[in-house]
Symmetry: C2
Subunit: 222 residues, 2 copies
Amino acid sequence: MKRIAFIATGCFFVAFNILSAFPAERSEYWRQRVSLFESLPVNSTDIIFIGNSITDGGELTELFNDLRVKNRGINSDDIDGVTDRIDCILAGRPAKIFLLIGINDVSHNVSLSSLLSKYETLINIICEQSPESKLYVQSVMPINNDFNRYKNLRGKEDLINSFNSGLQELASQKGIVYIDLWPALAVADSDKLDPRYTNDGLHLTGEGYLAWANHIKPYLFE
Amino acid sequence: MKRIAFIATGCFFVAFNILSAFPAERSEYWRQRVSLFESLPVNSTDIIFIGNSITDGGELTELFNDLRVKNRGINSDDIDGVTDRIDCILAGRPAKIFLLIGINDVSHNVSLSSLLSKYETLINIICEQSPESKLYVQSVMPINNDFNRYKNLRGKEDLINSFNSGLQELASQKGIVYIDLWPALAVADSDKLDPRYTNDGLHLTGEGYLAWANHIKPYLFE
């Protein structure tokens, strides 16, 4: 009886940890998107954008007016999520990969060292499995807590800055292009996402997408 | 004092009704997407897909491999939401418009007569403002309550069938193409979305998107 109770408790603990890693709604949507991506071939001329809701919510192929541009964003995704699903993208050996990921990790209180460790693991996987792909690491975008919308992002400005500094260093060490998005999106001389470019302090409006696209367009076609 | 209380109660009632019509998260995301659409021009060769999460979650330009195909889906949208935002799409006089909308209205317990009335209003607006656009009304897709995921869709199979019959009749009256998606997506001789095509009984997996795309492709390029 005691053994059964022990085993049952252990199973519950394991199941709880697995399930709680993926909130139910995200998990279903994440699997839908991954399933879609697995059904869509990637080839060696493709320019792949991988990220979270900011990527997912943009009509990137249309924004750049180029069929080689493909959207692999998933709302709510984090660094581990991208790492878990990147194989099917790398299998196609795309020409370019633009990463924009990390803000959800920041909101989940992942430590700076862990953020950078996870990101480095992701970069290493990309470089090892698809050395043909030119990788671009985009800075985490600025946020704007004046909108007071995301409690888990309050007071995270310093962490975001440190994370971006770490990403820039990581990219430099590995000979990867780092794209700082702040000149395009932040209010000059501030830590804030320009309020013209957002309606909630995190996600982009149309103007924000245009500003982002204009800033990174030179990298797509270099 | 009584008058103040009366006015305050009235204001609260009005505000509550307005706010409750748009859950906060949907409203922000809806506005972000609308803002993006307003920043992206539509032209007379475009093939526009308008709808809710099923449209929003697909990479349609990529699925059909054609830059004329543009995604104007918004997660959680309903018939009124599409009606409210369709002007900027119609202003471009697109060549074709594919509508896929209504399941969220069904889940919100909108009556059959109201569903059809709202849809007719939407069709009339499209036909009046952009007679150049060839309009395609897609049936509401089948659902599968074996997944037991969406409480508000339980027992709605008959309503969905009646709604689709009504849409088919409406389309016929107005000389509009009605596309029945059930031959492509439903289990044969049943009311159920094929479980190969979904992971939650409502939204599509990659296989589901491919089945949908294959079914409607002839209409895009006719």
